[in-house]
Amino acid sequence: MDETKNFVCRCEEVTVEEIEEAIDNGATTLNEVKRWTRAGMGLCQGRTCRKNVARILSRKTGRKLEELMPSTYRKPVRPVRIGLFEEKKIRGTSNENMG
């Protein structure tokens, strides 16, 4: 089986090949790979593919995994129903950051 056709990001259906192509085209960081391929932008927000994308970037660029800045984590941690915000609304009283 051709491994380059394997999905790295299943939510957005991004293949190994597409990740490699983005790196060949000049993406040098995990955020750049994410922005160019959408890997990690789907429903699970990179929970499954983040590490695999990092491994490919590390292999292709010869940089150590620890040296790669993780791509940005975006809140919320789990998908949240919009209605819940309405039910919980604290108008103007709280300026805290989202959970």
Binding site: G26, R35, V80, I82, F85, R91, N95, M98
Partner: protein, 395 residues
């Protein structure tokens, strides 16, 4: 030996990259310097609209119309699918006060050749069957469009590289000096030093900081915008959506006074647009809070209650991500485009606030024309940094 270029561009956002594309197209040797990553500024944290309707009649509307025409051919030119699509846009109106102001606004826009009209409640329902009954009318423009900014940046970047552009990143500019031979010396935090005849400050919300290195005060501030992203869902209606509530406060100071305090403080104006992948982007806030890019519970929950007000059906849809970007907001709401007086070779292309995606192609094209001494596609005198002087004067 120092490396010498024709042009050094500071900032790999959509404006810097567009300018690089049109300059390399004319054969210029370009160096791009980026402090972090491509698209790490506002251009990677924004909506995707080429919104024509929100523009005040004048140079910005003209530029947006010109960009719209350019975007139509850019996917092919850049050999990248920019996900350009024209879905149309509506600004929802809730009361007579808003209606009166929007009537006048639409009339003026039409006189500039924009295809926009007011439609009544019945027609609103036809286009947006799920909208709440509180909506009494709406504007409608069939040509409001959208494009994927990440794709646009990738396309500009790859074509520029193909044509010989060099890039140094991460590499933050820390000093600028005019040399006696007329060249600019650009020094970066990774201890590099480059020379060029022309330097372009395309540092978006950071343009003021870069300006200081050249001894130029640029009145541009970061204006934060928070956005919530939904899971992928089917189309809710025919067009993308905004609310008049915010737009009218920009047109009528009296209404601005009367606005809900929290909505006014957070600068909330609803935008509700769907990407090609099916996610809805729900925005947004307009906050002056420095360079902070955190999303807040208060910001996001107020944005979401605005969208629920118009589309209660969204109650069961999930938010998968939130983010915030920093719009480069200039003091008079217009970008600075051009060479700074008495600083020969130092150009600014920054301050597009909430319109940088829409205005990127025409901005890049005009900047390249200026630098090559050609006739400009549009007269942009009123965007000249010369107006800096007037703004800098103590009142």
């Amino acid at each position: 030996m120092k490396k010498v270029f024709d042009v050094i561009i500071i900032g790999a956002g959509i404006i810097g990259l567009s300018t690089a594309y049109y300059l390399t197209k004319k054969g210029k040797k370009v160096l791009m310097l980026e402090k972090k990553e491509i698209g790490s500024g506002s251009s990677g944290a924004c909506d995707d609209m080429i919104l024509l309707q929100s523009k005040k009649p004048g140079i910005l509307l003209q530029m947006a119309l010109e960009s719209f025409e350019m975007y139509k051919c850019l996917s092919e030119e850049l050999n990248t699918d920019l996900e350009f699509q024209t879905r149309g846009g509506m600004i929802l109106i809730e009361n007579q006060e808003q209606l009166k102001i929007m009537e006048d606004f639409v009339r003026k826009q039409r006189s500039y050749g924009l295809d926009v009209e007011l439609i009544d409640k019945r027609d609103v329902k036809k286009k947006q069957p799920l909208v709440n009954d509180r909506v009494i009318a709406s504007t409608y423009s069939p040509i409001d469009s959208q494009v994927n900014p990440l794709r646009v940046m990738k396309g500009f970047y790859m074509k520029s590289i193909e044509r010989g552009m060099e890039i140094d990143k991460p590499s933050s500019v820390t000093a600028l000096k005019k040399l006696s031979n007329g060249y600019w010396e650009v020094v970066t935090d990774n201890n590099k030093c480059y020379h060029a005849e022309v330097v372009i400050n395309a540092a978006g919300a950071w343009a003021a900081e870069v300006g200081k290195f050249a001894g130029v005060e640029i009145p541009i501030k970061p204006k934060k915008g928070q956005i919530a992203v939904t899971e992928q869902i089917p189309c809710v209606g025919e067009t993308n959506i905004w609310d008049a509530d915010y737009i009218v406060t920009k047109l009528d100071p009296v209404l601005a006074e009367k606005r809900d305090r929290i909505l006014a403080e957070l600068g909330i104006g609803l935008s509700f647009t769907q990407t090609l992948d099916g996610n809805y982007l729900i925005g947004g806030t307009r906050e002056f809070v420095g360079f902070d890019t955190k999303t807040t519970y208060q910001g996001i929950s107020n944005i979401l209650s605005q969208v629920l007000k118009f589309f209660p059906v969204l109650r069961n849809v999930h938010i998968i991500r939130t983010f915030a970007g920093l719009r480069p907001a200039s003091i008079d709401g217009k970008p600075f485009l051009g060479e700074v007086k008495d600083k020969e070779g130092f150009f600014i292309a920054a301050g597009h606030e909430g319109d940088g995606i829409a205005l990127a192609p025409i901005t890049g094209k005009i900047m390249a024309q200026m630098i090559c001494g050609e006739t400009l596609s549009l007269p942009v005198d009123e965007l000249s940094p010369d107006r800096l002087k007037t703004h800098c004067k103590p009142s």
